[in-house]
């Protein structure tokens, strides 16, 4: 039996207004090379000055990941030649990162599992390269954006665990409000190291480093592929070579990027242009104070305070904005138990949002309208569940209150037996064979007949009332 040993290196672009060492804007999607200055272009003579907020964000993430935040931190230069790196060195952190030795507890099948975090450090991002036929083009807008590198220990044992780790990490960082963590925009990037070994062995195998992972799914899929590949090699007695491999989405395979590359020699040394930083205990405590309720705490609170299941709360809290959206609605729902509201949020509302490629918090439905609809459906039974969903969709589209939509579309539920008699008579007359089936003991036929009543009333009939009448009519007289 083999097991995978996985460590993840996550890069998160911090959402500061200005870049990490200069005053250029970090805004996404601008014209190439328009958000640059002598500092982030690495022009001769230019010097870096650290953005206060970037440092504060780094500390915040360190604290949220249970790290020990270092009172004394400094920057170092990391050297390698690449055209997207304007100075051919990156200002990064080597031996004294902002934070180290933390952990993140993830949910696994059997309960919680602790993934240790080795370090969290701040550095500058590189520019972007665009490759054409015979030339590569460089855009330095991204160069100098603040980047946080979060390195886990090799504590992850399966691709699924890696996936959970990323989901939780992303959720935490979004809660902190320090990054969008959007893999599509590249504000969250992930490289993975994976090796395999016999289960229970203590030595580490030879690892491969996986790159070009453009989604959480890609991380999981590539790790699955790579674990299989390595296992295949091991079982057939072939050697696993230390190498960097690229995930190829199309063929769902990892391909060798470079093997036996020239030994990396980054020649780190303390950045002479940046005197060290001392973050006092008081400052750390103050930043800690500013950390909001994190997803895990909020989830237990939702369970306790609103009577929700662990599963439901987990879904609602994973995105901070969704959680706040949900909570705003819970607060004005009169019942102590908020299960009904949660069902509508997770079920129909999430479906509507997904259709429009949105999150629920982006839907413009006021809390009052939303809760009124739930009340109309669930409590007053003024409209059917099915029509309730249709009304909700209309609400999302038009922003109109549910009562108006119900009236406009004439969707009120008919619960008054008298009003239904005529329709039921017709259904009985038109479905003689089903009526006979029911009478001969096939109780299923009743549901069919109820369905016919619903159809005839365009969904307005109260199915329960219709069923009662049908039953009485068919069995009594």
């Amino acid at each position: 039996m083999y097991e995978a040993v996985i460590g993840l290196e996550v890069h998160v672009q911090l959402k500061t207004k200005a870049k990490v060492f200069c005053a250029c804007s970090t805004e996404f999607g601008q014209e190439p090379n328009t958000q640059t200055c002598p500092v982030c272009l690495g022009f001769p003579g230019a010097l870096p000055v650290l953005n206060f907020t970037a440092l504060e964000y780094a500390v915040k993430v360190g604290l949220a990941l249970n790290c020990s935040v270092q009172e004394f931190t400094k920057f170092d230069r990391k050297h390698y030649y690449y055209p997207d790196l304007p100075k051919n060195f990156q200002i990064s952190q080597y031996d004294l990162p902002v934070a180290k030795e933390g952990y993140l507890d993830i949910e696994v099948g059997s309960g919680q599992k602790r993934i240790r975090i080795r370090r969290v450090h701040l550095e500058e991002d590189a520019g972007k390269l665009i490759h054409r036929d015979n030339i590569s083009l460089v855009d330095y807008n991204r160069a100098g954006q603040p980047l946080l590198e979060i390195v886990s220990e090799p504590d992850i044992r399966s691709p699924q665990e890696a996936y959970e780790y990323l989901v939780d990490l992303k959720s935490i960082i979004q809660y902190l409000g320090v990054s969008d963590c959007d893999m599509e925009k590249g504000t969250l990037r992930c490289d993975a190291n994976i090796s395999i070994r016999h289960k229970g062995a203590s030595v580490l195998g030879t690892k491969s480093e996986l790159k070009n992972l453009n989604s959480f799914k890609a991380v999981k899929d590539s790790l699955e592929y790579e674990a299989q590949r390595q296992q295949g090699l091991a079982e057939s007695g072939r050697e696993i070579i230390q190498e960097t491999r690229l995930w190829d989405e199309k063929s769902s395979r990892t391909l060798v990027m470079r093997s036996k590359e020239e030994a990396k020699d980054y020649r780190y040394f303390p950045e002479p242009d940046l005197p060290p930083f001392i973050i006092s205990r008081e400052k750390i405590a103050q930043i800690r104070q500013g950390i909001p309720e994190l997803p895990k705490e909020r989830r237990s609170r939702f369970q306790k305070e609103y009577g929700l299941s662990q599963y439901d709360s987990g879904i609602l809290v994973s995105l901070k904005n969704n959680a706040e959206y949900a909570e705003e609605r819970f607060r004005i729902w009169p019942d102590k138990n908020k299960k009904l509201v949660a069902n509508w949020l997770i079920g129909p509302l999430t479906a509507i949002a997904a259709q429009r490629n949105q999150e629920i918090f982006q839907l413009e439905i006021s809390p009052e309208d939303f809760l009124e609809l739930i009340e109309l459906v669930e409590k007053k039974q003024a409209i059917s569940n099915l029509n309730g969903k249709a009304v909700l969709e209309e609400m999302a589209k038009t922003g109109k209150p549910p009562s108006v939509i119900i009236q406009e579309k004439n969707l009120s539920q008919i619960s008054d037996a008298g009003s239904l008699e005529k329709d039921i008579d017709e259904v009985i007359a038109e479905n003689a064979s089903s009526v006979n089936d029911f009478k001969s003991g096939k109780t299923n036929a009743l549901m069919f007949l109820v369905g016919q009543v619903m159809k005839k009333t365009k969904g307005k009939a109260n199915p329960k009332v219709a069923q009662d009448i049908l039953k009485r009519r068919l069995s009594g007289e």
Binding site: G42, P44, H79, K87, L274, P275
Partner: protein, 486 residues
């Protein structure tokens, strides 16, 4: 005031004539240009000389430096004007911004000359022979070097082709050429003057400073270029006193230390005796002189060459042909990594010998397996050297030494022996390692008629003491009034 000899005047003299309306800024520029046209062919203080390219100026302006032309070393960025560090690799580079010192001087009314002064490539050298434009020649003896690396600035001031000039000093690059050319040069405390816009050689050692005809101009210039700069994290937020107030202060009772390690073998006997005369002069002015020890002096040069080259190798890695300057590529676009070959060819062709030596040495001492033995060890010995000075400054106000162990040597004399060249910085390097201010003032001439410099060092941010002592000495000696016959 006759306008023909304005080029020989000091800032202080010119300002009073400008204020009284006797002269205009254009008169000064004309006078400098006329002089330069006569002597530049021999001195070669400027690079690509074809007039001085005075920036637009407002003669009526009433700012403290209005109308004063300033010559600038080729490694200090001036917007839109060539700033090439006298290196092929930066050929044609025109920065999109002004260095902070340039900005400050412009704000004070100064006229920045667009034609830059000559230097050793990237300030790597002690003779200005390592310039891609060829060496400058010493106005006191054209066969001799001007010193370096700010040799062009010193030569321009000494030959009256400049009123004042800016240089940069990483291991003596202002003081040693000032000494060789018989002018005044100051390396300020590390963090006194912003480095923003100074093309970095060794970031933890570099400082910009003035090269002037006398101590008064030096102090005045420092008033305008010093002080906190939000663009330089290493520029200290310490108040800038009016340095001109130190001029004329009594130096009786000032305690000066003479480090015995600086008066040993290797010191030219003529320089030594001239120094002793200068020290006697100071004694006569009431200075208390005592002998002290700076025990780690002999390690300063090796420490310096490890730290400075390591930082230089890093700072120079940006010169790669991507964004500016030279790009060299293979003509045939064969197989292989064209990008890597572009890097290597650009840097192979763009860097001169000394730049290559230093980048290689610096890369070596930072590389895997050597870092602890070289770079880290050097940083620790740097601590010991700094502590040596700290101990002496506990008891003394200043330290007095020769600026250089010799006078200007002959062009070509040391250019094939880098180690010998490195040792000519032996008295100036320690001030950079310790981050303290140091000034060189003329203190006499050898019998061959070559100037000798006296170096005074003081505590961090105590430039005032340097000006006080240097001014008192200068005013009681004739040296600063001597002019090279050119």
């Amino acid at each position: 005031m006759p306008t023909s000899d304005l080029n020989t005047k000091t800032v202080v003299q010119l300002r009073s004539s400008l204020v009284s309306g006797d002269i205009r800024c254009s008169d000064i520029i004309t006078s400098l240009e006329e002089k330069a046209r006569r002597t530049e062919a021999e001195v070669k203080a400027y690079v690509r000389f074809d007039g001085l390219k005075a920036s637009i100026y407002a003669p009526q302006d009433d700012k403290p430096l209005s109308g004063i032309p300033v010559s600038v070393k080729d490694n200090i960025c001036t917007e839109g004007e060539n700033t090439e560090c006298c290196s092929k690799v930066l050929a044609g580079f025109q920065p999109p911004y002004d260095a902070t010192v340039i900005k400050k001087l412009r704000e004070a009314g100064a006229v920045i000359l667009g034609t830059k002064t000559n230097m050793d490539e990237f300030a790597f050298g002690s003779s200005t022979e390592n310039s891609c434009f060829g060496p400058s020649h010493n106005p006191w003896d054209l066969d001799r070097v001007v010193g370096g690396s700010s040799g062009g600035s010193a030569a321009a001031v000494a030959s009256d082709e400049a009123i004042i000039a800016l240089g940069s000093d990483t291991g003596g690059s202002i003081r040693q050429p000032a000494s060789f050319c018989g002018v005044v040069g100051l390396k300020p405390t590390y963090g006194r003057v912003s480095r923003y816009g100074l093309i970095a050689f060794a970031s933890s050692l570099d400082q910009i400073g003035p090269i002037t005809k006398d101590v008064g101009d030096c102090a005045l210039c420092m008033n305008f270029i010093s002080g906190r700069d939000p663009h330089d994290s290493t520029c200290a937020e310490i108040e800038v006193p009016d340095y001109t107030k130190s001029l004329g202060e009594d130096i009786k009772g000032v305690k000066a230390a003479i480090p015995k390690e600086y008066f040993v073998e290797g010191l030219d006997p003529q320089v030594k005796s001239i120094l002793y005369e200068a020290i006697n002069k100071l004694k006569g002015l009431g200075v208390d002189i005592a002998s002290v020890s700076l025990p780690h002096t002999e390690y300063a040069v090796p420490v310096y060459y490890i730290i400075a080259t390591a930082e230089a190798s890093s700072n120079l890695s940006r010169f790669d042909g991507v964004q500016y300057g030279l790009r060299a590529e293979d003509k045939e676009q064969g197989a292989g990594n064209r990008l890597v070959s572009m890097y290597k060819k650009t840097r192979g062709e763009g860097f001169g010998d000394e730049a290559k030596r230093r980048v290689l040495l610096g890369t070596f001492s930072l590389s895997h397996g050597y870092y602890d033995a070289y770079y880290l060890r050097a940083l620790k010995v740097r601590t010991l050297i700094k502590n040596d000075f700290g101990a002496v400054f506990g008891d003394y106000d200043c330290i007095i030494t020769p600026t250089s162990p010799s006078v200007a040597f002959r062009i070509g004399e040391k250019s094939n022996d880098p180690l010998k060249m490195y040792l000519s910085d032996i008295y100036t390097i320690s001030a950079n390692l310790a981050g303290i201010p140091a000034i060189s003032v003329p203190c006499g001439f050898t019998k061959e008629g070559l100037p000798v410099g006296l170096q005074i060092l003081a505590k961090p941010f105590d430039e005032s003491t340097l000006f006080k002592i240097a001014y008192a000495y200068e005013q009681s000696t004739p040296w600063h009034k001597m002019k090279a016959k050119i």
